[in-house]
Each structure stands twice: as structure tokens, then as C-alpha cells.
């Protein structure tokens, strides 16, 4: 149900759920697609050697790196991101993620509630 009151969360208090079809990767949903009217906020955690295989979908991502080093492939381009860096990934482009650091990597990933394109 869409939130009509403020909701405050602390990342460590939110359940950490393993991401299916990925390696050493977990998600915490801060504001879900059911709670949020327009866009949902999630925090991803990738352990050492974590990998999210190639996939695509008709909605964009806006990602902000909190910790560690993340390599993201979008179609034929490779981007290496670290904390204080963000990436916009348009809808319908294939993307893939690797933790390329020697410790865990974490990033915020925002998605729209409804497909965009």
C-alpha cells in the first residue's frame, strides 16, 4: 500500500535478501514498489567476487555507490565506479555488474514503480 505517512529506515535494520541468479549479492528494500508512488529505493551489497549477470528490462536505473568498487557493463561500455559516483542506465540496455574490489561493495539503486519504456 502506498505510504501516506513518513517512513524512516536504517539500512542495517532492513532484511537482507539474496539476489536470485546472482553471485554473492544481496538486496535490502528501503522503500518498495508497493510503498512508493513513483520510484523505489534499494541498497545492493556485493561480496568479494560478487556478480550480477547480464539482464535488461524496460526501466531505468539510477545508482549511487556507497562503498567499494563496482564495474558495470552497459551494452558495449564498461564503467568502473567508486563511492561518490553515480550512473544513469537507460531502459532496455543490457547491463551487468561485478565487484572488482577486495572488500564488499554497496550501492543504492532506484527503479521506477512502473516500466518506463
Amino acid at each position: 500500500m502506498v505510504l501516506t505517512k513518513p517512513k524512516v529506515v536504517r539500512v542495517s535494520d532492513v532484511d537482507r535478501v539474496e539476489v536470485e541468479n546472482a553471485k554473492n549479492t544481496w538486496i535490502r528494500v528501503l522503500f518498495s514498489t508497493s510503498e512508493a508512488p513513483t520510484y523505489a529505493m534499494r541498497v545492493f551489497e556485493m561480496g568479494v567476487n560478487g556478480h550480477i549477470p547480464a539482464h535488461k528490462h524496460p526501466w531505468e536505473h539510477e545508482i549511487f555507490v556507497l562503498e567499494g568498487r563496482v564495474r558495470i557493463r552497459v551494452e558495449n561500455e564498461i564503467f568502473d565506479l567508486e563511492p561518490e559516483m553515480a550512473i544513469f542506465i537507460p531502459p532496455n540496455l543490457e547491463h551487468e555488474y561485478w565487484n572488482i574490489g577486495s572488500s564488499r561493495a554497496r550501492f543504492i539503486c532506484i527503479i521506477p514503480v512502473k516500466p518506463t519504456a
Copy 2:
């Protein structure tokens, strides 16, 4: 123009613009309402004693604190936030912000491209 290719930004490379009608507060727009199809990503910075006066608007906020201590009032409720905490503020509720720490505070603030409610 809405982005059709990936865009990567580093926060410190983005122009820091003073927020009008606020005290000691700046904004950096990572992905703007013109660039993003559904929701825009901005980073706010509040200096010591920074204050954003009460205001409201027909769209929600999703905020994630990166640094420092931020007090947020939403209508009659007060929330004190620190890094790794996030808040959802529904549309049309009056809200106000203070930096209550002894150093700068920074947070990501996401807004929809179009009014929600």
C-alpha cells in the same frame, strides 16, 4: 533532453549551486528532471547551522543521508537522521530541515519528474 545513453558522474565534479531561500545549503544535480525519464537525483549539502525552511509540494521525497546529522520535520513529527538512514516524505506534507551536527551534512534527495499527487 531525456538521456538515451548511460551517464556517469562524480559528485565533486558537479556544480554546487546555492539553494534559494535556504541558509548555508547547496545542491548538486546528478540526474536532472530534464535528463531523467521518471525521477531525478540530487545531492544536498548543508553547512553548519544550515536550514531549509518549511515548504510543501505535490511530490514525494526519498532521502538517503550520506554524511552528518540532519533533523527533518514533517508536519508535526521530528526525525533525526544520520548516515545509513533514509526517509520517505509523502507528497503535500510540510517539511523543514536543519543541520544539527557540528560539521556539514549531506544527503541524496530523489524527486519525481512530474508531480505525483
